[in-house]
Amino acid sequence: MYVVSSVTCPFCGCCCDDVEVIVENNRVFDVRNACALGASKFMGYNEHRNTKPLIRKNGELVEASLEETIERCAEVLANAQYPLLYGWSNTSCEAIRVGLELAEEVGGIIDNTTTVCHGPSILAIQDVGIPGCTLGQIRHRADLIIYWGCNPWSAHPRHIERYTALSEGRFQKAIWKRYLSRLILESARKKRYRVASLAFKGGAATLLAEEERWIVPPPEERKMVVIDVRRTRTADLADMFIKVKPGGDYDVLQALRALIRDEELDVNEVAGIPVEKLEELADLMVNAKFGVIFFGLGLTMSVGKLRNVEAAIKLTRDLNMYTKFLIMPMRGHFNVTGANVVFTWQTGYPYAVDFSHGYPRYNPGETSAIDVLSRGDADAALVIASDPVSSFPRRAVENLVKNPLIVIDPCLSPTALMADVVIPSAFVGIEAEGTTYRMDHVPLPLKKVVDPPQGVLTDEEILQRILRKVREIKSKSSSS
């Protein structure tokens, strides 16, 4: 038994690089420092594993040799008019680089999972830019942390502990004590609420109103604000929680832009939030020494999409007239930022790249995976390190599965169950090394802590073999 230290977690965009994995007989025995999500990946990755290449014959997926599956993949891609190559955010930058070469070779569309997470954020950033920094700066200096439309407690469980309010920075202290005392008070309040609801009618309502009170922390202490449509677990940690009506984020962001310029609002509330509360928030923002807004899919997936993000960036820009303020998207998959980076350095565009003209074209809404599939344009697809059957809308999935579908994935995902060819691959960050980019664009090395099962190759090797085969087929057809 031995310990592999400083392992980068291959789960979310936090890419925590302090994970320790205990290995025994080439199996992960235990994992330390990881959150529930990361630990679940390290401990459970081998439980429901597919290690055999599969090909669909007579409607059933049956075992085949690796050579046969790679040859079939190459034939499908080489013969397709407009293949879609989708996924990429759960694999290494090295594999993504080969994938882009393959997309160019077959003249297809290549898109990553950005398209269904922070695609609108990228469109907004391309319009208005983004004032950003690394998470280390935020950990040490930020005295106002705003989580807008995101729930790191559930999606990025160590984000608050490692980089923001609960982290011990050089110039800012963690708010653990304040959080714990609030937790005790909240627990007492709930007990009173339960007793009051049992004892007399109306008592419960009085005590419910009590929760809306906000106790202002001392000015020198770090503060955390959560803005969301529902009271998430992250909101329980916050000093101030603001509940916005679904679809009301754009209104609230523009209202805040007006308030920080000392303009009066002629309404009593904006998207369900009393103006007094927004004024309090505007004061807090203007008086912060170093503020940061982390935003999630609550802005990108709801009505307004890129315009919500654009308004949030413009609010940040406006705040920089008074103080230092930054903004950062909460990226989901561990290497979705890397996918954007590699796509950009190879093609000039971060996602939704179309090679069908022989050169890279980019027009999200037209060249993005869901639009290509919904229109029924793609005539074949290669899905790698992703599960679009679980994350795409129905019409897109219907068109994805009716054409030849190749899946390269370590697990038998719902997409793999629908595929015509399935090639098992090694888990990047557990069984294969590589490079990943954290959500703040810091590149980190992924470690190989155990060997992959016999005969199982890495994504990069599989893609290189497919690429070689495609080139062979193309050179044969051009010479004949």
């Binding site: 529930a36 429901h48 469980p157 679980s390 994350s391």
Partner: protein, 129 residues
């Protein structure tokens, strides 16, 4: 039947079980739930743990209704990301590449129909498994 606003998103349970295996019962149990406000459940006549049918113009799914103390105002329901909820999502991206995954209107009604397993769901909707 009631018209409510659907929010989809991640939960810790969904995140953990998706890494364990998406074809497992654990994953199915973590994503075939519909977190609802207690008042909405009362008005709908559905009990905690009872099945509800969620419908849009795209299609319908059956999931289990769960009382949520996180949804404190009526009118909103929450279903974790997964193939079940995606089967009723519209694909219109309004030229952005992103479908509307949060904050769209759905019809909710109590039902006795069972929740489909992942293989049955794929077979019913897409004709393959």
């Amino acid at each position: 039947m009631m018209e409510l606003t659907l929010i989809t998103g991640r939960t810790v349970e969904q995140g953990c079980t998706k890494e364990y295996a998406k074809i497992s019962d654990e994953y199915m149990m973590s994503v075939t739930i519909c977190e609802m406000n207690a008042e909405d459940m009362k008005r709908l006549g559905v009990k905690d743990g009872g099945n509800v049918k969620i419908s849009t113009d795209v299609g319908s799914i059956v999931v289990k209704a769960v009382t949520s103390r996180r949804i404190r105002t009526p009118g909103i329901i929450f279903i974790p990301f997964g193939p079940w909820v995606n089967a009723i999502l519209p694909a219109d991206t309004e030229g952005t590449g992103m479908p509307p995954l949060k904050g769209f209107k759905v019809r909710v009604e109590p039902t006795d129909e069972p929740i489909l397993t992942i293989k049955d769901l794929l077979l019913k909707i897409y004709g393959k498994k």
